[in-house]
């Protein structure tokens, strides 16, 4: 059996399709027969019913015309022309109704001859007979009514009244005839409905039988296809189940050239590829497991470092807070220093005035000392004059000394006579010596005085120098104090700048605090993200281990 599965299935499909198409065509034929029958019945019934309606209407109109003519004749004030017109109309309608009766009879007879069902033919025959009877009654009514119209034309009231009753009776007889004709038509319609029901039942049964035959045929074809297709497929499915269970070692026997054999070869290739894939997968899963473990370790490290970062940010925030406090203290201290420096500047201005006074006093002292020095110099000159006088006195005493000695010598030369003179000479010498000694003492004292004067001069000069030095130092001090004042004022400005800078620094530090807050939030978010990464890596590790277990399932 070398027909391929595709061809087998195609064969079965074609057979079933042919059966279904034949069934459909038969059903359509039956439906068309039913529809033709129904059309015929309905068209005929409706034609006769419309003719009967016209007939009834004309009968009633003729009655109404007659009554109008009677009333017009009785009222006597109507013109003659109108009366004549009504009569004319009545007569024309009477002719039309007569023709209509004839047509109904002809039509019913024709339908009776062509009806396929005998029940319908009998119904039409009865209708024709009834219509024939109604036509006879109508002719009698016309004949009875004609004398009344003659009386109407003559305006004979009594004659008109006399004819009314038989005419009315005849009218009712006519209406009853028409009603009977309708009933005959209804019987025909009922016969038509019964005929249609018969045709429907016949078609139904034939269609059901054909359907059952096609179902049987389909079951047969399906069983055939199943035996040729599903059996080899079950072998393949068992092999696929073994492969699904993880056994990649077996192969499928392939013989022939149909689709199953090709499927088996394809499955063998697929299993070989799967075994290769499983080996690769196992190795890759091991790598994945290791990588997931590394990711988890690094995520934990990152979490730790994020914690450290968070702690560092906290410390930084604390430090910045301390900086803020210390900056505030700097500002406060700088304010105090400014106050102190301002009081220092006032003090140094007072010191400046005091130093200026001191310089003036020093200048006065120097002038006084110079005056003293001048006086002392004059005194020194006076002592010089005294020294000259003393020199003179000393010279005189020296000469007196020599004179006394010469006198003593002369007295000794004079012998005894000069003895008393020798005494005088001795006394003279004594006086001269005493004068000389006194002069020496005066000279000594004068030397001491001159040394004192010199010392005084030197001291005075020293005092003048010192006064000048004091003046210079006072000037230096003044300049120094001025510099100090300037520096202090500069310091005040500097400290005011420091205060301003510190305020700006405070603002900057507040911004830094805000930034640190952002950093802290960011690091918290980072910590949360890191925890998520850690959890994800843990999941990844579990997944990798599950994958390892899965990969272990495949034997090859």
């Amino acid at each position: 059996m070398s027909i391929s599965i595709g061809k087998r299935i195609l064969l079965g499909f074609v057979a079933i399709t042919v059966v279904i198409v034949a069934l459909g065509l038969y059903a359509l034929d039956q439906i068309s027969a039913v529809r033709d029958n129904m059309n015929t019945i309905v068209k005929r019934d409706l034609t006769v019913a419309r003719q009967l309606d016209d007939l009834g209407n004309k009968a009633r109109d003729m009655g109404l015309l007659r009554r109008n003519a009677v009333m017009a004749a009785l009222m006597r004030n109507r013109p003659e022309a109108e009366l004549i017109q009504i009569v004319e109309t009545w007569r024309r309608m009477g002719q039309e109704a007569d023709a209509l009766f004839g047509e109904v009879v002809r039509t019913a007879n024709g339908y009776s001859a062509t009806a396929p069902a005998p029940a319908r033919a009998a119904a039409w025959k009865k209708l024709a007979e009834t219509a024939e009877a109604a036509a006879g009654d109508f002719r009698q009514l016309r004949a009875v009514s004609e004398p009344q119209f003659t009386a109407i034309a003559a305006r004979d009231a009594e004659a008109i009244e006399a004819r009314n009753e038989p005419i009315n009776r005849m009218q009712e007889v006519l209406l009853a005839d028409i009603e009977r004709t309708r009933e005959a038509l209804d019987a025909g319609i009922a016969a038509g409905q019964q005929r249609a029901a018969e045709i429907y039942d016949r078609s139904l049964w034939s269609v059901i039988l054909t359907l059952a035959a096609s179902v049987l045929l389909s079951i047969l074809i399906t069983a055939l296809i199943r035996r040729g297709v599903v059996k080899p497929l079950e072998d393949v499915m068992q092999f696929a189940e073994r492969v699904g269970g993880g056994d990649l070692s077996g192969t499928l026997a392939t013989k022939g050239d149909d689709e199953i054999a090709r499927l088996g070869r394809t499955l063998n290739g697929m299993v070989a590829g799967l075994a290769d894939l499983a080996r690769t997968n196992r190795a890759a899963t091991a790598d994945l497991n290791a990588a997931a473990a590394e990711i988890r370790a690094s995520a934990q490290e990152q979490a730790a470092s994020v914690e450290e970062q968070f702690a560092a940010v906290q410390e930084t925030a604390a430090t910045v807070d301390e900086i803020t406090h210390s900056g505030a203290q700097i500002g406060k201290r700088a304010g105090e220093v400014i106050a102190t420096a301002q009081s220092t500047a006032q003090t140094s201005r007072a010191g400046l005035r005091a130093v200026a006074d001191t310089a003036k006093a020093m200048e006065a002292i120097r002038e006084q000392a110079e005056a003293v020095a001048g006086n002392i110099v004059a005194l020194s000159e006076k002592t010089q004059a005294i020294g000259d006088i003393i020199t003179t006195v000393n010279d005189i005493s020296e000469r007196t000394h020599l004179l006394a000695l010469n006198a003593a010598i002369e007295a000794a030369a004079a012998g005894d006579s000069g003895r008393s003179f020798a005494v005088v000479a001795s006394e003279m010498k004594l006086l001269a010596d005493q004068a000389k000694a006194a002069t020496g003492q005066v000279r000594t004292i004068l030397g001491e005085i001159q040394r004192g004067i010199n010392t005084s001069v030197m001291l005075t000069e020293e005092a003048v120098k010192r006064a000048a030095a004091g003046k210079a130092r006072s000037d230096t001090t003044q300049r120094t104090i001025e510099e100090i004042t300037a520096r202090v004022e500069e310091s005040v400005q500097t400290f005011q700048q420091i205060v301003a800078s510190t305020n700006q620094q405070q603002l900057g530090i507040e911004q830094v605090m805000g930034a640190l807050q952002n950093i802290r939030q960011a690091s918290q978010q980072t910590a949360a993200g890191t925890r998520e990464v850690e959890a994800a890596s843990a999941n990844l590790t579990e997944l990798a281990q599950a994958l390892m277990t899965l990969a272990e399932r495949y034997r090859h």
């Binding site: 020296e398 000469r399 000394h401 020599l402 000695l405 010469n406 003593a408 010598i409 000794a412 030369a413 003895r419 008393s420 020798a422 005494v423 000479a425 001795s426 006394e427 010498k429 004594l430 010596d433 005493q434 000694a437 003492q441 004292i445 001491e448």
Partner: protein
């Protein structure tokens, strides 16, 4: 100079004067033979020249040097129209020379063959002292013999010990013996 020292000095001056005036009568009444000496100072030494041989005392004056003269001969000076040889006393006695020439005093000697003057630093005064008594060789108030005083022979004729006169003791110079060396 305080007042106390001034008062002490004046008192000492008055006492010396009083003692001198009191000794005036005693000297006049003395019967012992007295020899007067002119006491001169040369450097640290004091020499007594016999007053009888002294003619005049003069202040120093310019000296004209003499060529090829002995060491002690300072030169010649003009005195009252005479040319007088000027000897340095200390040099003549072999003592260190006096201070600069032109200062000090000149003692003009009397008599002798030639006119001689002695240059001394200063003529201090006239002292009268008793001649040496053989009976009282160790009397403190008289001129001592050179042998007794322990001095060597030479131009020294005696030694006046200190303490007896105003001032220190002095060496009495034998002028003829001294000048003999330069006048022979």
């Amino acid at each position: 100079m305080n007042g106390a020292a001034e008062a002490a000095r004046r008192r000492a001056l008055r006492e010396a004067r009083t003692r001198a005036l009191a000794g005036r009568d005693r000297t006049a009444r003395q019967r012992v033979t007295l020899r007067s000496f002119l006491v001169c100072a040369c450097g640290e030494d004091r020499y007594g020249l016999p007053l009888a041989q002294v003619a005049q005392v003069l202040p120093a004056r310019p000296v004209t040097a003499v060529p090829d003269a002995p060491d002690a001969l300072l030169g010649v000076v003009a005195l009252s129209g005479r040319v007088v040889s000027l000897l340095g006393l200390a040099r003549a006695l072999g003592r260190p020379g006096a201070a600069e020439p032109g200062a000090g005093h000149i003692v003009v000697l009397r008599g002798g063959a030639a006119a001689v003057a002695l240059a001394v630093d200063r003529v201090e005064g006239v002292v009268a002292i008793a001649a040496s008594d053989p009976d009282l060789p160790n009397a403190t108030e008289s001129l001592l013999d050179p042998a007794v005083a322990g001095l060597g022979p030479g131009a020294v004729s005696g030694y006046a010990p200190a303490g007896t006169h105003a001032g220190d003791g002095f060496v009495a110079v034998d002028l003829p013996r001294l000048l003999r060396r330069y006048l022979s």
